[in-house]
Symmetry: C2
Subunit: 194 residues, 2 copies
Amino acid sequence: MASDTEQPLRPDIAAAATRVFSELGYHGASMQDVADAVGIRKASLYHHVRKKEDLLFAIHDGLIDELIADTLAIVSSSQSPSDKLRDILRSTMRFVARNREGVTVFLHERAAVSGERWDAIVAKRNFYESMVRGIIADGVSSGRFIDVSPEIAARGLLAMANWGYTWFRSDGPLSADEVADIFATIALRGLEPR
Amino acid sequence: MASDTEQPLRPDIAAAATRVFSELGYHGASMQDVADAVGIRKASLYHHVRKKEDLLFAIHDGLIDELIADTLAIVSSSQSPSDKLRDILRSTMRFVARNREGVTVFLHERAAVSGERWDAIVAKRNFYESMVRGIIADGVSSGRFIDVSPEIAARGLLAMANWGYTWFRSDGPLSADEVADIFATIALRGLEPR
């Protein structure tokens, strides 16, 4: 039954659509390609989603929810701002490593998600960024960090990890945590007063 | 006259193609769209390039050449590693601010550049990254920076500026140099021994 509600997409369908969009590009991929990748008939795929854009939205929405869940757990802990930022860098690098194709689709095809649904994604993304900004603002106001723009510092720190989607390989010489710890060393020495 | 040599593309054609690819996506854009944006007939456009991929390659190649020229000037100066890195962050943020549409096309459509031409782009990109890595390696070996992986540190630093393509606005509250200086403050405090 076609549905316009925001029920989570069946995980194997989301995974297959992510792979297909990553390989062929969103515009180059057809519903038939996705159905083939899932191993179901196209008619069956239409029982889960009404149109291709639904798949793209579900991928975006699932990724941002995952990132928010990881980040909420860190923000709500009783750790120091420095320890929270280190955990944010680790969780973001792990997220990027685990969802490389999904992040690529998210970043490259977001123009294809339109209207209210895109607004909902933007609102979630802003919430995610505001949590990271908040950690830095806490650190600045409590004197644990130097006086720096929490907004720009948060963008810079998240960029270090996010950019991993362009180069990080899970089978490379360093794990996601090892890379994140190098970034954390630089960023925290950079933010903490001497 | 159609040409396969690597002569620079006429700047107004490169600018129009960048704008069209950024708006419609490379696959969604036609040679007619580009000709319309330049204000010439499609037949005239074919006097400059043989096919659409030539335009994409010319955009990529022009951008990476610009980045290399900026970086070479900094690397070959007699400044300290810290001052060089600050200048790299400034020049990269300026590059991103100036070429936002081009960087978007570069990152999102690179899969469409194929074969030897892509290898040539990769070789130039690697050369660019190796210059930045070299500055950090010099700083580490001379004791001006802490002992950190120059490769990962370079990726993190460049990420801070590169990621600007997703959010930086030339008409925003901070200039490219002001943003770069915040990143440089964090990164250099992070790299310099206490």
